[in-house]
């Protein structure tokens, strides 16, 4: 598994984890009457917290991923060559991390998919407003569609890295 594919899988897992935790937290809080449809401020606070959590988790996952990837490389090199040096591992990781033309093309294509997902979410949320649903529903659809857009972005990257551009 190459660096890009492994990194994309890590992004997908962290994105799904945050989304699942958010949905679980929100549904359990709503059922326990801790949240109501009229308290927009509380919903906004929760969403801001989860955006922060998402960013923090992405950073932590990347750090853990780098550590695991380095360990994997060290094990692989020591099996192949009998020994491994820190400089070699660092050099290999730097080479794997190179952002080249294919990476940029894949990033552009996947970003288009995430924009489409977020756009569909935005239009859907407007429809809910038109049909007199509470504003909270609109907010949640927007929030979830942005997260799903991010996850789809990673899935698209995974697709292009494995199947080709």
């Amino acid at each position: 598994m190459s660096y890009q594919i492994a990194k994309t899988v890590a992004n997908i897992l962290s994105g799904i984890a945050i989304l699942v935790v958010y949905l679980f937290y929100v549904s359990s809080s709503y059922q326990a009457n801790l949240l109501s449809m009229n308290e927009l401020k509380s919903w906004a606070q929760i969403m801001l917290i989860f955006i922060g959590l998402g960013i923090a988790m992405a950073i932590v996952v990347q750090i853990i991923f780098h550590i695991l990837f380095s360990i994997g490389l060290a094990v692989k090199q020591s099996i192949n060559n009998g020994n491994c040096s820190d400089q070699e591992i660092e050099k290999t990781i730097q080479m794997e991390m190179v952002e080249d033309e294919m990476g940029k093309l894949i990033e552009l294509k996947s970003m288009r998919v995430s924009y489409i997902a977020a756009g569909i979410g935005f239009v859907t949320s407007l429809f809910y407003l038109v049909f007199d649903y509470p504003v909270v529903v609109t907010l949640n659809i927007l929030f979830v569609s942005f997260f799903i857009g991010g996850i789809l972005d990673s899935f698209t990257q995974l697709y292009y890295y494995t199947r080709g551009v």
Partner: protein, 76 residues
Amino acid sequence: MGKQFEITNNIRKLRFFADEMTQQQLAEKAEVSRQTIIAIEGGKYSPSLELAFRIAHAFGVHINEVFDYRVVENKK
């Protein structure tokens, strides 16, 4: 009946004749990631002209010896 175009490459063969150069070594010489070399070698990605020249330069051969452009007749 339409025409399709196909770009094939001899990177695997050239790597073999270049003292079994690894994909990682070729990636270093062409200044791209190993993933990109894997994709090009497997015919999953057509590189830009600049990268094609860089790969040819890494092997020290003309670009024609690395990439081949063919017109394939589509019978559909």
